[in-house]
Symmetry: C2
Subunit: 320 residues, 2 copies
């Protein structure tokens, strides 16, 4: 989802910062959709953890690499080998094939999508930029290991890397999925589309959010940012909005009215509640903010982005 939105944004802009884009190689495990763009788009289907395929990607010596590919949390937990292969080996192989092209002058920018899943309870109520990595999932472990590798390869001058720890992206467009975090989007998206949504946790649950639009902004900013001020610490927690489920529902009511809120059905799920209890509630993402990364200011802003970008603005402005 983010990959498609990023590609669309690149196609629209035709440039990264003040540098026009001449060529885009688009890679996925399924056949990627090719956008209309003023530059050449080379779409490829393949497995990043396959050395021959990874090498073929580096042959064009890209100036910027966005690495968003991942086996998601639930799948990485269910299939250990698949998760490590995609999220760790795939990332390492990508960095190694880029390193193979390194000649002292060619140092590609690598923007890596990490996750706040690198943090696991117990942690402070507000997690600062110096918090230790304590993942409680294999997915979070793989992201944390990849962050360390990216920092080492950047320190050595093989790549110029930056890892973005993305908040939970909300409101995700599309149909409900089975991710444990899916309900955070579902309880907004489904009612705004006149459909019922299940809420498996209590109203007091607090979590950390940013819109898909903000996420694309993070990637584009990271691609052109001066990485000097990062030093050897190449991972940044992205800004976001800390909101409780109750605050989410209040925003839903403001945009969709009481009818929308009534479509949220409370159906407690112990398993999901337990997983979510180990997730961060809020961050002090000062380092990223100081470097110019920007997210929404309130959960209302996040809902408004969904309405503007996915519903063509077709839901009324908040009533109060």
């Amino acid at each position: 989802m983010l990959g498609q939105k990023l590609v669309a944004a690149l196609a629209r802009a035709g440039a990264l910062g003040d540098r026009p884009i001449s060529h885009l190689a688009l890679v996925d495990v399924v056949d990627p959709a090719v956008p209309a763009a003023a530059f050449t788009v080379d779409a490829r289907r393949g497995d990043l953890a396959d050395p021959a395929f990874a090498s073929s990607l580096a042959a064009s010596r890209p100036d910027v690499v966005f690495h968003l590919a991942a086996v998601v949390s639930g799948e990485a937990e269910a299939d250990v080998d698949k998760g490590y292969r995609a999220n760790l080996d795939g990332t390492r192989l990508l960095l190694d094939v880029l390193r193979a092209g390194q000649d002292g002058e060619y140092v590609p920018r690598v923007v890596f999508a990490s996750s706040i899943a690198v943090f696991g309870a117990p942690f402070p109520d507000v997690i600062g930029d110096d918090e230790q990595l304590t993942p409680l999932t294999s997915y979070g472990t793989q992201k944390a290991m990849a962050e360390l590798l990216l920092a080492d390869y950047s320190r050595r001058g093989f790549v110029d890397g930056i890892a973005l720890r993305l908040p939970t992206i909300c409101v995700r467009p599309g149909t409900p999925n089975r991710a444990a975090s899916g309900f955070f989007s579902g309880i907004i998206r489904e009612p705004l589309n006149g459909c019922e949504a299940v809420l498996p946790v209590s109203d007091e649950v607090r979590h950390w959010f940013a819109s898909p639009r903000s996420a694309i902004g993070f990637f584009l900013h990271a691609a052109t940012l001066d990485t000097g001020p990062l030093g050897h610490r190449r991972a940044l927690t992205m800004p976001g909005v800390s909101a409780t489920v109750a605050e989410q529902l209040a925003a839903l009511r403001r945009f969709g009215g009481a009818d929308a809120e009534r479509l949220v059905r409370r159906q407690p799920d112990e398993t999901i509640a337990r997983i979510v209890a180990g997730w961060p509630a809020a961050f002090d993402s000062r380092r990223a903010t100081d470097l110019g990364f920007v997210a929404e200011g309130t959960f209302d802003d996040i809902v408004r982005v969904y309405i503007d970008d996915e519903l063509g603005g077709r839901v009324g402005e908040p009533a109060g």
Copy 2:
């Protein structure tokens, strides 16, 4: 060096805690020396990063695995691929072959030698147990990645792992080596043996030390410890002594007299000074101490261990 001392300690004790040892498989990249022991010792030469070899090791379903094998800091920095292969892939393969034998009941204890090289400047003067991992070498990065992997595999119940971040081991017996940290041992060992030693940094440099005897104690304690209180945080910074070079030299003088101290030749080396400046000076290793890990209390104690264990006590007691 630590491996040999650990094997000798196991041979002497014939048991781990109250469980007698029946069988020891001894693995190294060179032919391991086989100690005299009351139990079976099976010495093997091989590469842990070779899947067939690693599998053969797990076939005997060891109850306890001590994993001390590593490509050291300088070599891992000089040869990127060799370092990642040995320190990351070797560790991962070892964990994976142990996992392959896992059947819900077989959960081997894995004691992994990590390092304070997982921390890199800037950091606080005293580094606590919650400090983030900020390695500034490929070696430290590989150790940090292995710590994360060990924690994830322990969380999943594949192994019962514990990672020990060892202080710089001092006084190392044997001949001078080319490790950047070598002088910390050299300035004690060489003069006590009547030989000249080179000191490449200033007297104000402060670092974190434990004796080889303490390190062996850490490993043996970690093998039998109840890992329950560790929760999912399986890496522990080991206790040690924080001492400056000046304090080291004062201890040398107390044991070896002014003649010994005169054998220390100051020969500043900018490269070594720069490397060492990024190393930790002191830790608050409360978690490990609370769990029963014990090191020396003063640098004099560290020198005394060297004299007792390596010189047969042949140097006089301190003069003051």
